[in-house]
Amino acid sequence: MTANWPQVELDAVRRLRALAAGIPGAVVTERVFDRPLPVVWELMWDDGRSFAEIQPDMHAITDLTVDGDRVSLHARSRYGFRAHLQGTVRPGWCWLQSRFLLIGMAAAEEPGGRTRVALTGGVRIPARAALVPIGVRRESTKSLDRLQELVLRDSAG
């Protein structure tokens, strides 16, 4: 009988809110885009290409390796800093950390063929599950603005 009891499938945005709650200093910034999930996710990740485009101060990524949903990559900032990011990427979900960086992205379907995007992350207090609480919301908002530009460009064809 219990096989028919209601169960919950938690979407990626709700999962990101839960995970960020365990990281002091983390802020989740959200925006709804008027495009379907697969389109928005392609613009958010695209094998790391658009990922580098929407992350603040990220210039390029190299050495991307993928093993199932496990990902490893090297990121270089515009100011020459380098980070070795490792973590999990799957459709609608990205969670990456290096010693000094944390990046979380989630996307989930909204009614009417729209997509809710949630971002978190920032400068990590080295080797700790905590962020330096300076400029966190501003950086995420910048990323959402860049994603918005990509969405508009994509919609314009």
């Binding site: 009988m1 219990t2 096989a3 028919n4 009891w5 209601p6 169960q7 919950v8 499938e9 938690l10 979407d11 709700r14 999962r15 809110r17 839960a18 995970l19 709650a21 365990g22 990281i23 496990r70 490792q86 973590g87 999990t88 969670w95 950390q97 944390l102 990590r124 080797a127 700790r128 599950a129 905590a130």
Partner: protein, 165 residues
């Protein structure tokens, strides 16, 4: 990748956010299985709030071996709280719940659950899904054993009535 939940908890408590991510993967279906039947249409809210509470206080978990019991207690508490808060909306949203297995049977289960109070649903979950005995379920819900027994009797009677009507 670490699969063992106890090792994941230790790594997460040590500051590894990738371990937190893997722990989230392991805990989400478990928490959803508890929150769904108690919070019904508000199951996603309850599951999210339970997981928020879990990750906020993960550092305070002294015995990683007790992880699932600790998470279960948080999930039941949050599900009852959300179901009470949103009580009026639950029944209205029942028709939108996804049906699993036999659609008609699933609707019957949801309909019967919706006629019970959140506390009654919590008792059924702890006894029938989680396999706790009455004393342990009563302790987790902070009610006297006699109260738990009578609530469980009423909850099961509601189910029997639904199946035979």
């Amino acid at each position: 990748m670490i699969d063992d939940p106890e090792r994941l908890v230790r790594a997460a408590q040590g500051g590894d956010t990738l371990a937190m991510n893997d722990l989230l993967d392991q805990l989400t279906p478990y928490v959803g299985r508890i929150c769904g039947p108690i919070a019904l249409g508000n199951g996603p809210d309850a599951t999210q709030e339970a997981l928020v509470a879990v990750f906020r206080s993960l550092r305070t978990l002294k015995e990683p071996a007790a992880l699932f019991g600790w998470v279960r207690a948080i999930a039941v508490r949050e599900a009852v709280r959300v179901a009470r808060r949103e009580g009026r909306q639950v029944v209205a949203e029942l028709a939108e719940l996804p049906a699993r297995g036999d659609p008609q049977l699933a609707i019957d289960v949801q309909d019967t659950l919706a006629r019970l109070s959140p506390e009654h649903r919590a008792l059924l979950v702890l006894r029938d899904l989680e396999g706790l005995d009455e004393a342990a379920a009563a302790e987790l819900l902070a009610v006297p054993a006699g109260t738990a027994k009578s609530r469980l009797h009423r909850a099961r009677a509601s189910f029997r009535k639904a199946w035979t009507s």
